[in-house]
Symmetry: C2
Subunit: 114 residues, 2 copies
DNA sequence: TAGGAATATTCCTATTAGAGTATATTTAAG
DNA sequence: CTTAAATATACTCTAATAGGAATATTCCTA
């Protein structure tokens, strides 16, 4: 939970979120990330550092290259956190159900369709 | 998706996240929120405005009070967005994931009974 | 071992965003 | 009609932060 909250604040930055979405499709080097997002290398490195320190990413050294990829934990944490809002999410579904029932009722009174 | 990204940046602010977590347990007025979070009323109002404009909250007027509560949509969006990381989440912790799936299945059968 | 490529780091600047304070607005009560 | 309560808004200040440029570091290769 605490981890999920930290992840949220880190992912609040657009470029960092973009990095995470890039890495969803597989690991990438710093240069590749900088190129794909059209940002400069130092900025990429800085964001990657923050993402790594918050344990959203992990690095693997390959000679003078650094290969970054996603860690699963923060996303699992976020999922757990989201589950604590399940009740709210369901409330509206129920309302929608009720609404649909109302529509069906009106439909019945208007013209008996089916 | 776009909505989920916006929600992330809005929830990146600690006080706003705290407000959202407060409202998980039910609707509250501005004063109640400010008091519970030990922040000043104008700050509460500002954060609530941002949260409302990003459609995370909705307001109801009651005389000179404003009652805020969560909207389900952004959380559903976040859930959808998180699902796009399912592959990464499944890579490791297969056992835990299976367990969660079992729980989800049980949950689904509960819901569909209603 | 010199040079170049990839990345990290440092320092600076400018923008931004949140906090604080004062004030405006709305509404109920007396 | 005045006042007080609840909330929103406007203004200012300050601090955090992202970006830019230059430089340091590491590692490979000729």
């Amino acid at each position: 939970m605490n981890h999920a909250m930290n992840a949220l604040s880190v992912l609040g930055e657009p470029n960092r979120l973009a990095i995470v979405e890039l890495l969803r499709d597989g690991e990438l080097t710093v240069g590749e990330i900088a190129h794909k997002l059209e940002i400069r290398q130092p900025q990429a490195s800085k964001h990657l550092k923050i993402l790594t320190e918050s344990e959203i990413l992990e690095v693997k050294a390959d000679a003078n290259r650094r290969i970054y990829k996603l860690r699963p934990e923060p996303f699992q944490s976020l999922e757990s956190w989201l589950k604590t809002f399940q009740k709210i999410m369901e409330e509206r579904y129920d309302k929608l159900d009720d609404y649909l029932k109302v529509l069906q009722q009106k439909d019945k009174t208007k013209k008996s369709k089916k």
